[in-house]
C-alpha cells in the first residue's frame, strides 16, 4: 500500500508510540492549549510553560486548604461581629462545650441560617459569662437556660441531659 509521506511516518503501532517524538511532544502540546502566543503551538516553548503550570498546580494543593480555612475564619468572624463576639471565641467556646461543628459548617450556618448562628453565639456568651469573662463591646446575652450544664462535664451520671 502506497501512502503519502506524513501518513507513512505516522503509521506506527501503538506499542512504539511512547518512543515516537510526535506523540511525546503532543503530550505537552495538549496541555498548552490556549496558552499565550507560540507557547501553545511550538513544542520547545510549550514544554517549559506546561511544566511550570504543573508546578503551580502542585504548589496550590496545600495552599488551597489554607485559603479555604482563612475564608471560613473570615466569614465566621464577620458574622460573630454582628453579635458582638470575636470569631475565635466562638470556635473555642463551642469546642469547650463539646459541640463538634467544623468551620465549614459554621460558615454555612452563618450565611444560610442566621437564627441558628445567633443561638450559637448566645450559648458561647452564656458559657463565658458563667466563668466571669465578658467580651468587650458586647450586648448582654439573651437569657439562656443552662441548668448548670454548660460547665459540668459530660459523664455517664448526667447522660440523660444530653440525649
Amino acid at each position: 500500500m502506497h501512502l503519502t509521506c506524513p501518513l507513512w511516518v505516522r503509521r506506527i503501532p501503538k506499542i512504539y508510540r511512547n518512543n515516537d517524538p510526535f506523540y511525546l511532544r503532543n503530550l505537552y502540546l495538549q496541555f498548552s492549549f490556549l496558552f499565550r502566543g507560540r507557547s501553545s503551538r511550538c513544542f520547545r516553548l510549550a514544554e517549559q510553560r506546561v511544566i511550570k503550570a504543573f508546578q503551580h498546580m502542585n504548589a496550590m494543593r496545600a495552599v488551597r486548604k489554607d485559603r479555604f480555612k482563612q475564608l471560613c475564619d473570615e466569614r465566621i468572624d464577620a458574622a460573630c461581629a454582628q453579635h458582638g463576639i470575636p470569631g475565635k471565641m466562638l470556635i473555642d467556646g463551642l469546642g469547650r462545650m463539646n459541640i463538634q461543628l467544623n468551620r465549614k459548617m459554621l460558615q454555612q450556618l452563618a450565611i444560610y441560617e442566621p437564627y441558628s448562628f445567633k443561638s450559637l453565639t448566645d450559648l458561647v456568651k452564656q458559657y463565658h459569662s458563667e466563668l466571669g469573662i465578658v467580651p468587650p463591646n458586647a450586648e448582654p446575652p439573651a437569657p439562656v437556660v443552662t441548668r448548670g450544664l454548660l460547665q459540668s462535664p459530660i459523664v455517664p451520671g448526667n447522660r440523660k441531659y444530653y440525649e
Binding site: N18, Q55, M105, E113, P143, I154
Partner: protein
C-alpha cells in the same frame, strides 16, 4: 508516559494553569468569525466558561432556596425577645416542638459522614470522594451521626451528637462512579526527573430522602 483520552476543558477548570483571556483573539477575529472553524469557535467566543478562577470562593448550594424562603439582607426581621423566666423558655420550646409540622419549611441536618460534615436537607445530593461504599446502587441508608438539626422555630445541637431516637436521616445510593482524572506531575530541575501520575478516585453519590423528627423523644429530654 501514557495519557488517558479526556477532553482538555475538563482539565483546565480545577487547576490553576495561567491562561490569558481571549480578548486579543476576540478583537481580531470577532470581525471575521467565518475564519474560525466551528471546532474552536466556542472556546474563543465563550471565554467566561473556561477562564474562570478557582471555585473555592463559591459557596456550594447544598439546599435549594425557594423564592418565599429568601430573606432580604437589608431587612431581616429580628426575632421576638424571649421571656426572662426559665420555665417560660422551656415551655416555649416545648410548644414549638409540639407545633412543628414537617410541611412548613425545610428542616436541615448537619451530618457527619465519612470523616466530613455536610449540611443536608430533603432532596440534596451528597458526593463522597475517595470512597466506594459496600452499599450497592439503590440501597437505603440511615445516617446516624447527626450533629445538629434545624427547623423554622428552633434548632437542636448535639454535644457532640444527637441521639438516634430523636431523628432519622434517610439516604439512598444513586451513583457509584469515578471522578474525572487528576494529574500529579513532579519535576526537579537540572536532575532529569519528571514523573506523571494520573489517578481517578472513586465517588459515590447519595440522595437524601427525608429527615424524620421524633417528638416524644425530644420532649422527654426537655
Amino acid at each position: 508516559m501514557q495519557l488517558a483520552n479526556f477532553t482538555l476543558h475538563r482539565l483546565l477548570s480545577p487547576i490553576s494553569i495561567r491562561c490569558t483571556p481571549a480578548a486579543v483573539i476576540n478583537r481580531t477575529l470577532r470581525s471575521s468569525p467565518a475564519l474560525l472553524g466551528k471546532k474552536y469557535a466556542k472556546y474563543y467566543f465563550t471565554p467566561k466558561k473556561i477562564f474562570r478562577k478557582e471555585e473555592i470562593y463559591r459557596v456550594p448550594k447544598t439546599q435549594l432556596i425557594l423564592p418565599h424562603e429568601r430573606l432580604d439582607p437589608l431587612n431581616i426581621p429580628e426575632p421576638s425577645a424571649p421571656t426572662a423566666t426559665e420555665s417560660g423558655l422551656l415551655e416555649q420550646l416545648a410548644s414549638a416542638v409540639n407545633h412543628e409540622q414537617s410541611t412548613s419549611g425545610r428542616p436541615f441536618a448537619i451530618v457527619h459522614l465519612v470523616g466530613k460534615q455536610y449540611k443536608v436537607s430533603e432532596g440534596d445530593l451528597v458526593q463522597l470522594v475517595g470512597k466506594s461504599l459496600l452499599a450497592e446502587l439503590g440501597d437505603e441508608l440511615v445516617l446516624e451521626k447527626v450533629l445538629a438539626l434545624g427547623f423554622t422555630d428552633f434548632t437542636l445541637y448535639g454535644r457532640p451528637m444527637l441521639s438516634r431516637d430523636c431523628v432519622t436521616v434517610r439516604a439512598t445510593v444513586v451513583e457509584k462512579t469515578l471522578e474525572p482524572p487528576k494529574i500529579r506531575f513532579e519535576f526537579r530541575k537540572r536532575q532529569n526527573f519528571r514523573r506523571m501520575n494520573i489517578h481517578q478516585t472513586n465517588a459515590t453519590v447519595l440522595r437524601i430522602g427525608s429527615i424524620e423528627f421524633n417528638k416524644p423523644a425530644v420532649q422527654q429530654a426537655l
